[in-house]
């Protein structure tokens, strides 16, 4: 007997359980666990808070959710690798369908053609956005995608050094360090020009000519929001026989040429800006694309066209010889679960946007960001920290410490941006401000006056 009726999981009446035990030939369920030595068994109930009805559960969750501020309770200019873009209701309507939500990896292609088609279209759409033909079905996030891409280059070139721009997002660098440490891959740093915010060409030449680098790894926009001249960087990498590995914000493809078109050999992206909610940091989606000759080095699942028994085309997971369940310790990666449901969201988002929509939303992001940055730069002592070009995010130098200003803005219900000290200890007087299509003129006016007040107060406090 078990009093679990209120939990909603009770689907076997006692009579059924008795019949099942009878069929097995044991007296109690306990007998089924006889292989487990007594000495190590738990001799008490798990000490967890008691079971909850659905309404009590919801009440508790709502209370917790209410203890978080969000980009809906506050006016937010936070970015730094996660952006508050609008997600059409149509994306959620499909992504929440149980057929997709509760499916496993499509190991049985005959009963998974719909899911496989979605993933195949993901590869196709991302190949357009990233500008390279071979795309996988996703890895965990943009940072792990960069790490996977680095290892790909090391294997392709059979070298164990990579040149990495110091201006990649801090989390990306941290993850790259973690992933490469055990595999004996050395990282050569490439510094940025402090004035432009883009990679310093002299530092680049030095790094590439000094080391025997498998790849040059850069990010655009970089951690300062500055856009790199990808064509030049890729050409420099190729001059030194290194692969050009580029991490991009896929939304930028609405107005900029793709990284592939700029000459990159491997491109990775954090696809969160394409229909994935902020979710306090995850789950997001890392995409990896490469040239056809390097396709066999891709990590993770790949969907391709195959044949059925009648000779008709069909879709299935293909080239599994790269993967962990076939090649084990020689696999290109350990990835098994990926971000399929988020890939569906990206497919939906890009399908709804379409060619013109992506161009328009990217244009609107850039337009609004430039308007807001220009407006803030009319405040006394505020200026862009770099002169390099930017998309929808930029680092602004303030005439005072950033932390005090951001705190004052928060008190007015505004997340004003990211403290520059997070990006580099020397940037404590800077804030990284991100703008998306969702910010209205009124939002910007409000934030500008709040910034003016906060800066004035901070200066007063610093003077006192």
């Amino acid at each position: 007997m078990h009093d679990n009726v209120h939990m909603g999981y009770d689907l076997q009446p006692d009579a059924d359980r008795a019949a099942m035990l009878d069929a097995i030939g044991v007296a109690t369920v306990e007998d089924l666990f006889s292989a487990i030595p007594k000495a190590i068994r738990l001799d008490r109930e798990l000490a967890l808070p008691g079971p909850l009805s659905e309404w009590a559960l919801e009440r508790e969750f709502r209370q917790r959710a209410a203890r978080n501020a969000t980009t809906r309770t506050h006016l937010s200019f936070l970015g730094g690798g996660a952006y508050d873009h609008y997600i059409p209701a149509a994306v959620d309507a499909i992504a929440n369908r149980g057929e997709f939500l509760t499916a496993y990896t499509p190991y049985q292609p005959e009963m998974s053609q719909g899911l496989l088609q979605v993933l195949h279209d993901f590869q196709k759409l991302m190949s357009k956005v990233l500008g390279l033909p071979a795309v996988n079905c996703s890895v965990y996030d943009g940072a792990t995608a960069m790490a996977e891409m680095a290892w790909m280059a090391c294997v392709i070139r059979n070298k164990r050094t990579v040149a990495v721009a110091r201006s990649i997002l801090p989390d990306y660098r941290a993850v790259l360090d973690t992933y490469l440490a055990g595999r004996g891959v050395a990282i050569v740093d490439v510094a940025s020009d402090p004035s432009s915010g883009t990679i310093d060409p002299n530092a680049l030449e030095l790094a590439l000519s000094a080391g025997d680098c498998a790849a040059l790894i850069v990010q655009s926009p970089n951690r300062f929001g500055v856009l790199e001249s990808l064509g030049e960087l890729c050409a420099a990498a190729h001059r030194h026989d290194a692969l050009a590995n580029v991490s991009v914000n896929p939304l930028l493809a609405g107005i900029a040429r793709t990284a592939g078109a700029a000459g990159a050999d491997i491109v990775c992206a954090e696809a969160q800006p394409l229909g994935i909610p902020l979710n306090a940091g995850g789950p997001y989606l890392g995409a990896v694309a490469t040239r056809s000759e390097y396709r066999g080095f891709l990590p993770g699942r790949i969907v391709g066209e195959v044949m059925d028994l009648k000779g008709e085309p069909a879709l299935a997971l293909v080239h599994e010889e790269r993967e962990q369940h076939v090649s084990r310790d020689r696999a290109t990666s350990h990835i098994c679960s990926n971000q399929a449901l988020l890939a569906l969201r990206v497919v939906l988002h890009l399908s709804l946007l379409g060619e013109q929509g992506l161009r328009r939303v990217a244009t609107l992001n850039a337009t609004k960001a430039h308007a807001f940055v220009d407006a803030l730069c009319t405040l006394p002592g505020v200026s862009r920290a770099h002169i390099g070009p930017y998309f929808n995010e930029s680092l602004l130098r303030l005439p005072c410490n950033a932390v005090a200003v951001l705190k004052a803005l928060e008190n007015e219900g505004i997340f004003g941006g990211i403290d520059g000290g997070r990006l580099d200890p020397s940037l404590g007087d800077c804030v990284l401000v991100a703008v998306t299509e969702m910010h209205s003129k009124q939002d910007m006016d409000r934030a500008k006056s709040a910034y003016a007040r906060a800066i004035a107060n901070a200066l007063e406090t610093e003077a006192a």
């Binding site: 068994r41 508790e60 917790r64 496993y104 590869q123 965990y140 084990r328 379409g354 929509g357």
Partner: protein, 492 residues
């Protein structure tokens, strides 16, 4: 052209599924091009399709009909644990207070997140008998990677040069793949005819170079590793550490805990044990737990409680292996796991485990005459049955189940587990605890119908499935051709 259509098939230039407009900010393409680095503005088209909202909705609704999920029907895919994903968990995970929270907000504005993380960490520690958890890993394999990194860092700190990880031959492919990513060498241990670890080979491979043994318990053969105490003692006597692959933890909740079996490091697959949906391949979540001596090595930040019990992210973690992904973990997935634990409580989790084991043994008993079990002893949450006495190939047999609305069980090389050659005709069946007796009986009936049909009309089996939009798939290596898309901007 496949039977299901690409979204490109609905492309019609000039159509839009969403209106992107703000009267205060006229869209000016020329201006925007000037903001790009020299030569980096895009001139031509990308080649994205243009589709209306209603066409998008109808198209993907149709695609969903051609996808099998737990919501659609039985999914006894052994070792993958396709149990029901309670709808209430989805609602909790998508509350605005989490969905719209930005990871880089000031930490004090995310108190609900930290409190939930801390509570979930504590609950996982209680369920598994470990001391500390990180929720950062993105999936089970990522949890393995994280756990192995802590082992590596621990030995590095002690100045011990240990480079080998021992892995049973029945382990998930992710075990050796993760070990290789961390930089370990892998040595395989064979399985005995009783389905257990070969102790003699294990002892002979164990040595001063051994960093650890990765063990799945119950194993991927559905059996509890009875010699676990002896194994743990041997590993620790050799100065090595014991790693628990939590893929099958759903068989043990409230019964026995990995920490009490002697494991030092563990990962939990939230979709297998804690009912989070698998999403057609992900996102997963792979919390990694350790005994206290390894806690300093967990990824930063560590989510701790202050003296007043308030949780916060602590970046002061000098011994940490670093970060394994951006930000803090798969929050949306972890919230579902917490909702599951909260709903069931300690007694409910044990009941779930008991039901999973009951269901698997019931299937095993009822199918024994048709598909004899490979091992005599009681199975845990899944059973390994032999298709050797069927009159058709096991791989063909299971395809016919699709026509009965049942997802085929796991076969050799069918994806998530690795079987040795001895199990060529074996099927790993995991009904899970959320199938009723009636559903199991229906499943058993379907197996029998297929077996009967195999005897009289093998052709029907060999050419199955017959009710799907495509016939049985024949994989071939020309598949790369369609993976590759031209990037010349044409809409194909």
């Amino acid at each position: 052209m496949t039977k299901t259509q690409s979204i490109y098939s609905l492309h019609r230039a000039g159509v839009s599924g969403t209106g992107i407009v703000d009267p205060d900010f006229p869209i000016d393409a020329l201006n925007t091009a000037a903001w790009m680095p020299e030569g980096e503005a895009r001139l031509g088209d990308l080649g994205l399709p243009e589709v209306s909202e209603i066409d998008v909705i109808r198209h993907f609704t149709r695609q969903s009909h051609e996808s099998h999920g737990v919501d659609t029907g039985s999914y006894p895919l052994g070792s993958c644990t396709m149990k029901y994903n309670p709808k209430r968990n989805d609602r909790m995970a998508q509350l605005d207070g989490f969905r719209y929270a930005h990871p880089l907000q000031p930490p004090a504005t995310l108190q609900g997140l930290w409190d939930t993380f801390a509570d979930l960490q504590d609950a996982l520690a209680e369920i598994t008998g470990m001391d500390a958890f990180t929720l950062q890993p993105a999936a089970g394999a990522h949890g393995e990677f994280t756990g192995l990194l802590t082992i590596q860092r621990y030995f590095a700190d002690r100045g011990e040069d240990r480079r080998t990880i021992l892995i049973p031959d029945s382990a998930h492919g992710t075990n050796p793949a993760s070990a290789a990513m961390v930089g370990f060498q892998c040595r395989l241990i064979p399985t005995t005819s009783r389905g257990l670890l070969d102790m003699e080979t294990f002892r002979s491979l164990l040595g001063p170079d051994t960093a650890g043994l990765m063990l799945t318990n119950p194993s991927t053969l559905g059996l509890f590793e009875e010699q676990i105490e002896e194994i743990a003692a041997a590993v620790h006597d050799a100065g090595a550490l014991l790693y628990y692959d939590g893929a099958n933890l759903n068989a043990l909740m409230g019964i026995v805990r990995p920490g009490d079996m002697g494991f030092d490091v563990i990962h939990v697959n939230t979709h297998k044990t804690l009912s989070t949906p698998h999403g057609g391949g992900g996102p997963g979540s792979g919390p990694c737990g350790v005994k206290s001596f390894l806690a300093p090595y967990l990824p930063a930040p560590h989510i701790r409680r202050d003296a007043a019990g308030k949780a916060f992210p602590d970046w002061d973690a000098p011994h940490s292996v670093g970060k394994v992904k951006s930000f803090y973990g798969h929050v949306e997935v972890l919230l579902r796991a917490w909702a599951y634990i909260r709903t069931l409580g300690g007694s409910g989790l044990r009941y779930a485990t008991e039901t999973a084991v009951l269901n698997a043994n019931y299937l095993k008993a009822r199918l024994a005459d048709l598909l004899p079990p490979l091992f005599e002893q009681h199975c845990m949450h899944e059973c390994l049955l032999s298709g050797g006495s069927l009159s058709v190939d096991a791989a063909d047999f299971v395809k016919r189940l699709i026509d009965f609305g049942i997802h085929p069980p796991t076969l050799v090389g069918a994806g998530c587990v690795h079987f040795g050659p001895d199990y060529r005709t074996a099927m790993l069946i995991e009904p899970t605890e959320t199938e009723s007796k009636a559903a199991l009986d229906l499943m058993i009936d379907s197996f029998r119908k297929v077996a009967n049909e195999a005897a009289v009309a093998p052709f029907m089996i060999e050419t199955a499935p017959h009710t799907t939009p495509v016939a049985k798939i024949v994989k071939d290596e020309s598949a790369w051709l369609s993976v590759l898309e031209t990037s010349d901007g044409s809409v194909s």
